[in-house]
């Protein structure tokens, strides 16, 4: 079985400050890891993914994430937050071997204050 944990229901940060949204995962094999963002009344939008290669991956809107195999983590980061980054963020995992669907975490609400 595969699973994702997002330990924070909400993250608050001031505009211009760095942000981190945490994610840990569990898979039986090696993972493919993803971050999605969801704005109110909208579908999920893809931000970035880790498939293989460099542990630091860069994605849309200045976001990046670091894959840490020993800690089974894939935290989302951004050096300088914008008010427009306020949204619901989901981490997702897919096992490389066998299982073909994405399993999502419960989401973390990011609130960036002016």
């Amino acid at each position: 079985a595969q699973s994702v944990a997002q330990p924070e229901d909400q993250v608050n940060v001031a505009e211009g400050n760095p942000l981190t949204v945490k994610c840990t995962y569990s898979v039986s094999g090696n993972p493919y890891l993803f971050w999605y963002v969801q704005y109110p009344n909208r579908g999920l939008q893809f931000l970035l993914k880790y498939i293989t290669g460099d542990n630091l991956v860069k994605g849309s809107y200045g976001f990046e994430a670091e894959f840490n195999k020993s800690q089974t983590s894939f935290h989302l980061k951004k050096p300088s937050a914008l008010v427009s980054d306020s949204a619901l963020y989901f981490c997702a995992v897919r096992d490389i071997e066998g299982y073909s669907t994405l399993t999502f975490g419960k989401g973390t609400m990011l609130l960036v204050s002016p």
Partner: protein, 114 residues
């Protein structure tokens, strides 16, 4: 269109009624997924199609739920004898076959069972 299209965007029905939700995936995408997102939760997997066949339907909650994809493109999620607990946003996603990348999501169909 260029993206995944879902209809209707909103559906209100009465307990016990039958409902159909439609998904039109991105052209050329052979994999199609249905997820359900309840308030405050992450998307939960329902069923996955590869072409016309359901490759994995382990997420369907009970036999009131059924999905088809007769020609390998458009899919319909069917819910019989709806219950209030079926109220949620039903998300459809598609992806090209045999690649480990992201899923492309539609904006969802919000189902409310009164």
């Amino acid at each position: 269109g260029a993206g995944v299209s879902q209809t209707p965007s909103n559906k209100v029905t009465e307990k016990g009624k039958y409902v159909e939700l439609r998904c039109d995936p991105i052209s050329g995408h052979t994999a199609l997924y249905w997820y359900r997102q309840s308030l405050g939760q992450g998307p939960e997997f329902l069923i996955y199609f590869q072409g016309t066949g359901a490759a994995d339907d382990s997420g369907l909650p009970n036999d009131r739920f059924f999905a088809v994809r007769p020609e390998g493109s458009v899919s319909t999620l069917k819910i019989q004898r709806t219950e209030r607990g079926d109220s949620a946003v039903y998300l459809c996603a598609s992806s090209p076959a045999l690649q480990p990348g992201e899923l492309f999501f539609g904006e969802g169909s919000r189902l409310t069972v009164l």
